[in-house]
């Protein structure tokens, strides 16, 4: 689901809380996965400065080309459900 959520972002940067909600996973599950994906070259991460003052910078993530391929190759079997969930959560 995390890969599906990142793939759904279509190359745009995503944040941790947003990903956890979209993928419906706990942050304790999400971050070890993100760490592993980044270490394996499937994910890139960058720090983004806040758009408004007084807010902290945020860590943002998106799939690399190989990550995109990995996500496409590992889409959930029930492809309708995650997509619907992602659209619902994003709405």
């Amino acid at each position: 689901m995390v890969l599906a959520a990142l793939l759904h972002a279509n190359g745009e940067w995503s944040h941790g809380y947003e990903l956890a909600r979209l993928a419906d996973v706990k942050s304790g599950t999400l971050y070890p996965l993100l760490i592993r994906l980044e270490a394996q070259g499937y994910l890139e991460a960058e720090w983004q400065q806040p758009s408004e003052g007084g807010r902290p910078p945020r860590h943002a993530y998106r799939l690399t080309a190989s990550g995109m391929q990995l996500a496409r190759d590992n889409l959930p079997v029930d492809s309708g459900t995650p997509a619907m969930r992602i659209r619902k959560a994003a709405a």
């Binding site: 809380y17 942050s27 304790g28 599950t29 971050y31 070890p32 991460a45 807010r55 860590h59």
Partner: protein, 392 residues
């Protein structure tokens, strides 16, 4: 819980996690902290922080515990996608004994931190470290595969009970309590060394004679008298009775409860010994770090049971008894003047913890239904035999 408190706890959890993470992952700790701070809802932010903490802290602790071993296997940045570290981590979790060894090393190390901060004599630190080496050496020696049988196991368990009875009758006595044996100028406490192994072994191997051994152990602990050990026996058997009740367990449990009541009725006037008793609370008066070391080391004793419970369902009785008996020892140390296992000064608990690991399965699920039957050739697994043979 008010708003600022929730924010404060969330931020504290993030900071602790960030500090605990290995250097290569510190930026991820920072990322979680910033992400948490950006969540508008306080409750949601607290939940996010605590879930992140629970998800990553075990890996951070494993990284710290396994770092010395990883350096032996090669170079490269540890943990951050390092297959060596990940493999070590997962291999450790699959082997209850290895988890226990890591816990023992971590607990003793944290105990040394406490004693150093508390100003304990260097000799104490050396004795605890030596006890760890001795315990691990016994673990390695007795854990090797040797042929054995049910009779030998039974005889060994009864012999250990005899040793406890002999201690009660002939042991070194202090203020009416006969719990110790003098060996080469050192006092050791046989009950702390033998009882944990006996309990975990009994969880996996029960028959009439081993039950007699447990009853005899209950009598011995009542006679010593030792509330902590009698309580440990009763709690361990109670957990076993809840999970797998049979006539052997019930008989041993009744005897252990009677023994525990006997110890409660008798006055225990022993004074607290520095660096041994009453340190769960007093360590915080020494230094916050000393207190954290004692608490952390104590919690580590439960790690093999927690990991085994979650990952090795066929052998849950053994893991539950293991966890219950060491939890009982910690609680006893918190409530009375009893040795604080592994983190306090004293070699008996360290050796006892190492030996009790021998009675755990070697590999998760490896001995499928071993613990669900009464003692037979099939469930008298080699590790138990070696343990009991070696201790007899």
């Amino acid at each position: 819980m008010n708003r600022s408190l929730r924010r404060g706890i969330a931020d504290l959890a993030c900071r602790v996690l960030q500090a605990a993470l290995p250097p290569s992952l510190q930026s991820w700790g920072q990322a979680i902290r910033c992400e948490t701070a950006d969540i508008p809802d306080d409750t949601e932010a607290l939940r996010y922080a605590l879930e992140s903490f629970c998800g990553l802290m075990p890996r951070a602790l494993a990284w710290h515990l396994l770092r010395p071993f990883a350096s032996l296997t090669g170079d490269g940045p540890p943990f951050h996608g390092d297959p060596i570290m990940m493999n070590l981590f997962h291999a450790t979790l699959r082997r209850p004994r290895v988890t226990g060894v890591a816990s023992a090393i971590g607990a003793v190390a944290l105990g040394l931190v406490y004693m150093a901060l508390a100003g304990a004599p260097m000799r104490y630190l050396g004795i605890n470290a030596s006890a760890l080496l001795l315990g691990l050496a016994l673990l390695a020696l007795l854990g090797r595969s040797l042929p054995g049988g049910r009779r030998l196991t039974t005889a060994a368990l009864v012999a250990m009970a005899g040793a406890l009875l002999a201690t009660a009758l002939l042991g070194h006595s202090v203020d009416g309590a006969a719990r110790w044996v003098r060996l080469g100028g050192f006092s050791i406490q046989p009950s702390l060394i033998l009882l944990p192994a006996m309990l975990v072994a009994f969880a996996r191997c029960r028959n009439a004679l081993t039950t007699v051994g447990m009853v005899a152990a209950a009598m011995a602990l009542a006679g010593q008298p030792d509330r902590a050990m009698a309580g440990m026996l009763a709690v361990g058997l109670a957990v076993l009775a809840i999970m797998r009740r049979d006539r052997f367990v019930v008989a041993a449990l009744c005897a252990s409860i009677a023994g525990f009541v006997a110890t409660v009725v008798r006055a225990d006037t022993l004074m607290a010994v520095p660096y041994v008793d009453g340190i769960l609370y007093s360590s915080f008066e020494v230094h916050a770090l000393a207190g954290a070391a004692v608490m952390g080391g104590s919690l580590l004793l439960l790690a093999p049971a927690i990991v085994g419970w979650h990952r090795d369902s066929p052998n849950r009785e053994s893991h539950a008894v293991f966890g219950a008996l060491w939890l009982a020892a910690i609680v006893a140390a918190a409530l009375g003047n009893y040795p604080t296992p592994l983190v306090g000064y004293g070699s008996s608990a360290i050796i006892g913890f190492a030996l009790s690991l021998l009675a755990l399965p070697t590999l998760e699920g490896a001995h499928d239904t071993a613990s669900t039957r009464a003692c037979s050739e099939a469930d008298t697994t080699p590790p138990d035999q070696h343990l009991l043979t070696g201790l007899a």
